[in-house]
Amino acid sequence: MLKVENINVYYGSIHAVKGVSFEVHPGEIVTLIGANGAGKSTILNTISGLLRTKTGSITFLGSSIAHTQPHIIVRQGLAQVPEGRRIFQTMTVQENLEMGAYTQKLNVVAEELDRVFRQFPRLKERRKQVAGTLSGGEQQMLAMGRALMSHPKLLMLDEPSMGLAPILVEQIFEIIQTLHQDGTTILLVEQNAQMALSVASRAYVLETGNITLSGTGAELTQDDRVRKAYLGG
């Protein structure tokens, strides 16, 4: 479904992503784990078209998107929930969701809204509330709901558990699994390796811009190096 081959991404002279390749197949949850600064967000933003790779290729559903503009990539069925949620603070919950449906025809927006409200009843209760006043967990739900409004074929999540209490982290991961069961393919970026590996079909470990390990979620959970570096021994 998504094939990333040998991408190199720079910020000026900083070489942030160094020849990374990986794949996501239809129906999978693939996770990319790595410490802060490893290059995870840079990879997602390059796939979304916000950053450009110097080399290699990015293929989504059979067509190259390495030079496609970000708003077109969304139309092709690839959505991202960015790190730090980045919801529109001054807009209401419902307006945020409507922005998520920007690429949709007007007559299906109500339908998508219903679907997202069923998934996140909490957002329905707060639909008129200004998004900046939501709690952290609610903001994460809004960010996810907003991305789902475009009915993506592949959903990329950048550290959805960041800054949330353990109970909320559990909740967010349950939602991720539900979305997956409902047929959404997921590329999940996390520092919380334990949670990420527990839901992943396959996983990649990223260290300072390089992929150093890959395997199924279960394999990596057993791997000594992973246990030591990411799972606290």
Binding site: H71, R86, F88, Q89, G132
Partner: protein, 297 residues
């Protein structure tokens, strides 16, 4: 008392023009985070286009205004595409200098095309041979220009507020103002949205140019620059980025300016206007209606 009322009405009328210009500054600032210094000169171009359409080609003033809006809209889009878009990632100082350069370019182009001699802008707003209505034996006068200016300002404010609050494109503009990266992830074409903002601001500049020259009829290549600076002041005064702020800032600035001229001194009226701005910014740095958007982590 009636003199006071006369001054108040002139102030509101002048302030309405400032408010319409301030909208262009504030909307462009909100979305592109840049100060479009050339905005004042787009006003001048609008006024010239309307002047020639009406005086030289004998077209109806309404047609003249509409054509001025079309020309300014295109001009605004072209300026953004050629001068500002290539600098989207550049430091803001580079963008500011480019904008100042664009301002001089427009003024010089106008001098070449239309010479630096002033033109007398015709009086459009007359009905039945009269240019206004008077009350109390002529001690309270309301010119049609004043009435049209204030009404135009109100209509523009209402329409623009509805546009940004209710329409898909208007909401996309707000989304881009807040976070361009996130807006792109929603599938919003940021470049198109910025173009639309420049187009709207420039069309309004054409309207402002015609209204301004109807009240102060000497038209020359530098006509737009001082009102441009004052309107920018009004936008900052009201809270840059805020549409109601542009209205409030514009009207207050107009009133302060006219009162300062009438009751204090014509020479220092501009100094008083800017002094008020400085005081407001010292007390409330975001302007009267400006909001501090929380910094993201």
């Amino acid at each position: 008392m009636l003199t006071f009322l006369n001054h108040l009405i002139s102030g509101i009328s002048l302030g309405s023009v400032y408010a319409i210009i301030a909208l262009g500054y504030t909307m462009v600032y909100g979305i592109a985070k840049m100060l479009n210094f050339a905005h004042g000169d787009v006003i001048m171009v609008g006024a010239y286009v309307c002047f020639f359409m009406v005086s030289s080609f004998g077209l109806h003033p309404i047609i003249g205004i509409l054509l001025a809006m079309v020309v300014c809209t295109l001009l605004g889009i072209v300026i953004e595409r050629l001068a500002y878009k290539p600098l989207r990632q550049a430091p803001s100082l580079a963008v500011l200098i480019t904008a100042i350069g664009m301002s001089y370019f427009l003024q010089n182009a106008a001098q070449l095309l239309w010479t630096s001699n002033y033109k007398m802008f015709p009086a459009f707003f007359t009905f039945g041979g009269k240019n206004g209505v008077s009350f109390f034996d002529g001690r309270l006068n309301l010119s049609w220009t004043t009435i049209v200016t204030i009404l135009a300002c109100l209509v523009i404010m209402v329409v623009l507020t509805l546009f940004t609050d209710k329409t898909k494109l208007g909401k996309a503009m707000r989304a881009c103002s807040e976070d361009k990266g996130a807006a792109q992830l929603m599938g919003i074409n940021v470049n198109t949205t910025i173009s639309v903002t420049f187009a709207i601001g420039s069309a309004l500049a054409a309207v402002a140019g015609v209204l301004l020259c109807s009240a102060y009829p000497t038209l020359m290549p530098t006509t737009g620059s001082m009102p441009g600076i004052k309107a920018f002041t009004a936008a900052v005064f009201g809270g840059i980025g805020s549409i109601p702020g542009a209205l409030l800032g514009g009207i207050l600035l107009g009133i302060i300016e006219i009162f300062a001229k009438a009751y204090i001194s014509t020479q220092v009226s501009d100094a008083i206007v800017f002094a008020v701005l400085i005081i407001v910014l010292l007390v409330k740095p975001t302007g009267l209606l400006g909001k501090q958007i929380r910094e993201k982590v």
